[in-house]
Every structure is written in structure tokens, then in C-alpha cells.
Amino acid sequence: MLFYILGIWILPDIFKAYPTIIIVAVMVIGLSILASIIVYLIIFFGRVRASYIDIKTTKARKLISDKLNHYLFFMESVGNISRDDLRRVATELNKLTVLKFKSRLVRQLLIDQLVYFKKNFTSQTSIALSKLYQNLGLKEFSFNKLHTNSWEVKAQGIAELREMAPIMSATEILPYTNSSNDDLRVEAQAAYVWLNTADPFSFLNDTSEILVEWHQIILFDMITKNEEIIIPPFNKWLNSPNSSIIVFCIKLIIYYKQPDAVPSLIQLLDHSDINVQNRAINALGKLEAISAEPIMIAHYSTFSKSCKLEVLKALRRINSKTSIQFLRAEFLKIDNFYIAKCAMYSIVAISGYTRAQLLAGLPELNAEQKAIINHCFDKLINI
């Protein structure tokens, strides 16, 4: 309709006698041609710009990388570097006038390289990199990113600061730990953990927001790589109403081997979320909680299939001969292939039987059960 009115208004007179359909069609033709031309131009100039940037960055990258290598080597061999030396290197890098150091592009390149090195090296090298970062005024550059409007730039800024300038910036980052954008919030929380602030684990008190697997991986990485952080007993969050927080804490309990958490983990066997049950069983196994063995066996029949499999694996890890009787019964039940297979794996691992010893203790087996036993004893499969 709009097209029609517009068409009547702008098209030459000869069209005006045409039916509505044709007028609309003519309008669409015009617009499509216009749009196509614009898109063409965008693609073309985008390419021109990209190839210009590409030439520039390749050159810059090479120069920066050479300078950095010299600098890093120098830093390490002298041990702690003096302020003057540092300033000299900084001015030298600043002097790369060909690069127009002040341009965002080159700065970002420099930061990227520093971050790359920082991620790949520890100790002396790492300290040297941080110093350089601050002396080049790149910290301010990253800080400014926190004041832009797009969340991904903020997140990038936070990531850079966390990586390069660990001593400061906690207060600057704090507001973002409550951001409504999940990605930004987790990035901020990760930085917060990394910066050794007063209460790094406050994010675990979150009761409603689901902490997705990917974010758990980020935070897990931050926490476990931070050697200075004071590790609390994570079982205090195991009664959180937020299942994802419980799951995350269970992972940390396993990593830091916190046996005190066993009683709380046992309570989680009744949790309403199957995933939580699963993880709890997994943790009990990894903590080799022998006290949990009879309880898991007692609960066994009430579990879902996936939890049953976890129990069988946990028993393998707990590795006590008392569970063999139970595992044997599970294997002989002919209920589910995967359960039988998992039970047999555990029997083999715990008992250390040879195939002959094992078969001697078992009644006549069906083809499937024999296949499972052969599978468990095949060295090629179980490398």
C-alpha cells in the first residue's frame, strides 16, 4: 500500500495508468537495484580497506614481535629491570612511527601480542610483560574500553586488564559482576576471582542465574590457575537452590580434594536434579569416599540409568573389594547392556582377576555377557 502511494507520487506519468501490482513491482525493482548497488559498494570498499589494514598489520606484527623478543630476552637475563631501561624500551616501541603507534589498530595489535605471550609464559617473562604493558600506557587504553556502550568491548577490556594488570582494577570491574549480560558478568567474575579480591567467591551466592557449562569452564580455569587464592570449603554452597552452582562447586571439591564435603555430597544423592545427583556420585567416587559405598548401593535401585552408571564407575574408583559382590549381581542381571558392561569394567579393575579367574566365579553366561567380558579384557580397546 505504502509502495503504491509512494509510486503514484514519484513515478513518471506513464506508469500512473498501470494497475497497482505493476506500480508496486516497479517500486520494488527500483529499491532492489539501489540496495544491490549499495551492497556492492560496501563489499568492494570493505575489501579495499581490509587489504590496506592487512598490509599494515603484517608489517606492524613483524616489527612488534621482533622488538618484544629482544625486550623479553633482555629482561630475563638481567633479572629485574630498572625503571630507566623499561622507559627506554617503551620509548623505542613508541618510536615505531611507521606504525603510527597511537592508532587503535596498532595498539590493539600490541596488546594482543602481549596477551598472547602472557598466556604462554609464566614467571619472569610474565612479570616483564605486565610492566611493559603499563609503561606503554596500554592499561589506560584497556580501561577506556570499560566505558564504551557495547558489552563485548567491555568484556574484552576486562579480559585484557585481568591478564595484563593483575594488581589493580578490582573496583573498576566490580559493577560488571552484576551485569545482566551473562557473558559480561562471567568475564567480570572471572577477573574478580583472578585479582584476589576480598570476597572472590561471592558469585557462588547467586541463587537464580544458571551458570552454563562454558562459564563454568572459564571460572574453573581462573580459580584453579590462581595459586594465591584462599580456597574455602566449597560444601557450604552445596545447599544452594541453584543447581548449576552446586554442580560447579562439586567440580571444585573434586579438584581441591575436599573430603570434608563427603557428608554433604551424600545428602545430594536425594537431590531433585538428576544432573546434581550424577555429579555428586561422580565426586564421591573421585574422592574415594569409602563411607559412601554402602549408601550408594542402598540407593541404587532408586536411581535413574545414568546415575546407576555413575555409581558403578564410582565404585570402581573407590576400589574396595566389598563392592564386588554387588557388581557381580548387577552384571548378571541382564537388565541393560551398558550397566552390565560398566559393572564388568569395575569388577575387572577392582578384583584384578585374569579372565580365567573371573570366569571361574561366574555361572553359565549368555553371548552378550561373554562379549562384554571379552571387551573388557581386550588390550587394544582399553588403552
Binding site: S32, S36, G46, E152, L380, I381
Partner: protein, 497 residues
């Protein structure tokens, strides 16, 4: 009588068909807008992220890479090798030798020092008999499992055998002749771990390898196809993936995750019954069935697409092979919609039933048929000298300019996502191809999809049911829910893959 006929004919073709095409165009525009939102979102979310974090994480989910091989002796060696060298901390590669008549298996045994094992293979989804399972005696290749089975005549059957043997909760289904980027697993697993709802399937952009430089199974330089047919197919792929798939991913109503590269949640796939070995479009059929299953379970879920080109595949460069491929695709689409017709316009299936399926029905399946009748109408007008040439040309230009605009914009989306080609001229070539596509390539595609429809409508009926093994008592309940007998038509069950 004659007058009535002409009156209705004119009414239909002058009005209704016009509105139909306007509707299609509007839907394209909508997809164009939706897709750029989804692409932007993806780019933002991944702009500052280090995917390598997954490499050192103990919680990176395990992935089984499943690739069926049928008579691939020429390239199997390199291709398996490149699958084995994907970057990921926890994965296995399962190659299914689907009864090859050449020495595919022998080459594998020789190169990877395979030995038969006592692998306890459990058939959750029924397939043609599995003869033997091999593992490598060389610890370097401990991630490799080779299944030797009898030919099942379809990729679906072979993939199902792979799923049966898969160890990990997520699997990636691909073709042995597809070339994957090394970080494919890192990128594709991300939707599975970053969403709050359960992700049941994910796909990524597939490109065309025909003119690219490949060295021992590794892509070293991306080049635009040089030949006529592959070039236009590249254009079509860019449009289909970056506009179509991304937009449907945005509204979570994706129907198709391509067989060349798709990652799936194993449990859901098995619960839904695995690939349908009688389908001509088993990839689309699987996703449709999985979605149907999830909707009935009333579990929130998602199917996601990522706009990155991770997989390069060879496309036909001669009309004959191209024709049979397209015919099969159309038949697969028609068959799929027919099998699942109960979901179409069924509010119980949410957005999927109310928007996505009707879209595919009206604008994908029926479009070529309607277009064809439109052409017949024009011929009729010309023959009866009742055509208004001015109008006809304007209407033709109307459709033409619009479709060029959509295609060129799709190329722009590709440029925004990642600049695949190294040189400007290559992109410009692609853009120029967009001008010629409507009258050079489109008629071909139209012809073959008509042929596919013809085969579909003239095929014989047959009864066919999902086959799942009912060996152990415990798994029976699961099976009952998924076994549904459906009627499908088919002409030849097993065409060459």
C-alpha cells in the same frame, strides 16, 4: 465454460501468484534481517573469547567423530588422518567401512596398523550386520575405531552403526571426503555448553572445495570454484547457510543440519530412533524427528547454527551428477514433509510446527511447482496473443532484481562473518555470478527439483517403520515412544550416495 476457465486462470495468476511471490520475498527479507542479528550476536560473543581454554579443561565434553566411507580408497588415508589431527582434548574417530567393494578397508588396516578387537558392539539402532571392529595397535592412533559392516545402501545406515559404537555423549557426523578445519570441534561444541536450554544439534557453514588447494587432507588455500556449476553452488551455499540457516537458528526453528557436518546429542538421537535409512534426506529427516520428539517431551531445547565455515566438501561439477543430487534432495524434502505432515500447522509443535514446517512446505517444496505452472501460464498467454509484454517484463524484472539483491546481500554477510577468499577479484566474481544465477543456474535447479517432485508423486507406496533393537528389557519403554509407523513413497531405495 471457456470464459469461466479463463476468468479463474487470470484471477489466480494475476493476483494470487503475485501475492504468493510477494510473500516469498517478504519471507526472504525477514530471513535476511534475522540472520544478520544472529551472525552479529555470534561474532560479538566470540570476539574476545579464547576457544583454546577448552583444550586444557578437564570438563570439555567428549566427542565421537563419525564418518562413513564407501569406496573411498583413493583418499581415505589422508582424510582419516586429518580427522585424527583435529584439535580437541577428548575425542574419538569412528570410520564405518560400509561394505566398500574396493580396498578402502585394506588401506586403513595397513596404514593405521589395525587389529580386530573383541569390541562388544551393542545395536541400539538396527543396522545392516556389523562384521568386525578394528582398533590400531599403534598407540598414536588410539583414538581411531574402524567398523566394518555390510553395505546398507545409505549413509544413514552406516552412521547409525557409528552411533551405536560411539563412546561419548556428543557426536559429530561428517563425510570421510569432507575437509574439516582443525578447530571444528572446539567451535561446534560451544553451542552445546553455552546455552541454558538443552542443545540437541548444531551445524556450521559448509563450503565448496572444488578449486581449493588441499595437501594431504588439509586445506591450505581457499579458492573460489573455477567451473560453472560449482561456482553457482557456492553462491547458493553461502545464501542457504548464512541467510537461511542463521535466521532459523535465531528463531530456534531450524529444520536442517547438513549431513556433511552436524553435531548431535547422542541420547536424543537414539531416543528419536537414529537416522532413517530409507530417507533421501536423512539429515533433514533426523532433525525433524528429533524436534518432534523434544516437542512431545515438552523439554525446552534448541538447534543452533554457527556462521563459520568449518567444512569443505566437493560438489558435482557435471550436470548428470548435479541433477541426480538435486533430484534426490527434492525428493528427500518432499518425503520428509510428507512423513511428518501431522506436525505441520500443529500448534502442539510450537514455532516449529506453526512457522518452520509451513514455510518449508509452501516456499521450499511448492515453490518450484508453482513457478513451473507460472511459466506454463505465460506460454499460454503468448500462444493466445493475450500477453501484455510491458507488464510481463516488469514482473520478470521485479523477481529478478529482488533475487539478485538477496544473493548479493548474502555475500555481504559472508564478508562480515569472515573473509574467506584472499583476493578481491574472487569476491567480485561471486557477486557477478549473482547476476547470472537467475537465468543460467536457476532453470537447472528448477528442472531437477521438478524431476524430484515427479519421482516423489509417481513413486510407489510402502510401509516402513523405525527399527530399534529391543534386546534388553530396560530399554523397551524408550523404544515404544519412538517407534511410529509411517507411510512413505519411494522409487529406488538406495541410490548411489
Amino acid at each position: 465454460m471457456e470464459i469461466h476457465f479463463q476468468y479463474y486462470l487470470h484471477l489466480i495468476y494475476d493476483r494470487l501468484i503475485f501475492f504468493y511471490s510477494v510473500l516469498i520475498m517478504l519471507s526472504y527479507l525477514t530471513l535476511l534481517v534475522l540472520s544478520i542479528f544472529e551472525i552479529k550476536k555470534y561474532l560479538k560473543r566470540n570476539s574476545y573469547i579464547d576457544h583454546k581454554l577448552l583444550l586444557s579443561s578437564p570438563y570439555a565434553p567428549g566427542i565421537s567423530v563419525i564418518a562413513p566411507a564407501y569406496n573411498e580408497a583413493a583418499t581415505i588415508d589422508y582424510n582419516v588422518h586429518s580427522l585424527l589431527s583435529l584439535d580437541y582434548p577428548c575425542f574419538e574417530v569412528i570410520i564405518i567401512n560400509d561394505g566398500s567393494t574396493d580396498d578402502t578397508l585394506e588401506i586403513l588396516i595397513d596404514k593405521y596398523q589395525l587389529k580386530p578387537t573383541a569390541f562388544a558392539y551393542y545395536e541400539q539402532i538396527i543396522t545392516q550386520p556389523v562384521k568386525q571392529l578394528f582398533k590400531s595397535s599403534n598407540p598414536v592412533y588410539s583414538r581411531l575405531l574402524v567398523i566394518d559392516k555390510e553395505n546398507g545402501g545409505s549413509k544413514a545406515d552406516a552412521s547409525n552403526a557409528g552411533i551405536n559404537a560411539a563412546l561419548y555423549p556428543i557426536f559429530l557426523c561428517t563425510d570421510v571426503d569432507c575437509i574439516l578445519r582443525r578447530d571444528t570441534l572446539l567451535k561446534m561444541v560451544k553451542p552445546f555448553i553455552e546455552e541454558k536450554v538443552k542443545v540437541i544439534a548444531a551445524g556450521a557453514v559448509i563450503r565448496i572445495v572444488n578449486s581449493c588447494e588441499v595437501e594431504s587432507g588439509v586445506l591450505t588455500k581457499v579458492k573460489i570454484p573455477a567451473k560453472f556449476l560449482p561456482l553457482f553452488q557456492e553462491l547458493e551455499y553461502v545464501r542457504a547457510f548464512l541467510v537461511g540457516r542463521m535466521a532459523w537458528s535465531k528463531v530456534n526453528a531450524l529444520l536442517l543440519v547438513s549431513g556433511g557436518l552436524g553435531m548431535f546429542d547422542k541420547k536424543t538421537v537414539i531416543a528419536a530412533g537414529g537416522y532413517d535409512h530409507a530417507s533421501f534426506g536423512e539429515d533433514m529427516e533426523l532433525v525433524t524427528r528429533m524436534r518432534g520428539y523434544m516437542e512431545r517431551q515438552k523439554t525446552p531445547y534448541a538447534v543452533r547454527y554457527i556462521p563459520e565455515s568449518l567444512c569443505w566438501t566437493e560438489v558435482p561439477d557435471n550436470i548428470r551428477v548435479f541433477g541426480s543430487q538435486r533430484t534426490r534432495w527434492t525428493k528427500g524434502l518432499a518425503q520428509n514433509l510428507w512423513i511428518h505432515k501431522k506436525m505441520i500447522f500443529n500448534p502442539r509443535y510450537g514455532r516449529f510446527g506453526m512457522i518452520a514446517l509451513p514455510y518449508w512446505l509452501l516456499f521450499e517444496w511448492f515453490a518450484p511447482i508453482i513457478e513451473f505452472t507460472g511459466i506454463l501460464y505465460y506460454i499460454y498467454l503468448i500462444l493466445t496473443h493475450s500477453i501484455n509484454w510491458d507488464f510481463a517484463i516488469i514482473l520478470l524484472a521485479f523477481v529478478y532484481t529482488f533475487s539478485v539483491m538477496i544473493t548479493v546481500t548474502a555475500v555481504l554477510w559472508d564478508e562480515i562473518t569472515q573473509k574467506q577468499y584472499t583476493s578481491k577479484t574472487e569476491v567480485m566474481k561471486l557477486c557477478t555470478a549473482a547476476f547470472f544465477e537467475p537465468f543460467l543456474y536457476h532453470p537447472l535447479a528448477l528442472f531437477f527439483s521438478l524431476r524430484g517432485n515427479y519421482f516423489f508423486f509417481t513413486g510407489k507406496k510402502l510401509h516402513w517403520g523405525n527399527m530399534i533393537r529391543t534386546g534388553f528389557a530396560g530399554s523397551k519403554n524408550l523404544i515404544k515412544a519412538t517407534v511410529s509407523k509411517v507411510k512413505i513413497r519411494r522409487k529406488k531405495q538406495h541410490e548411489k550416495r
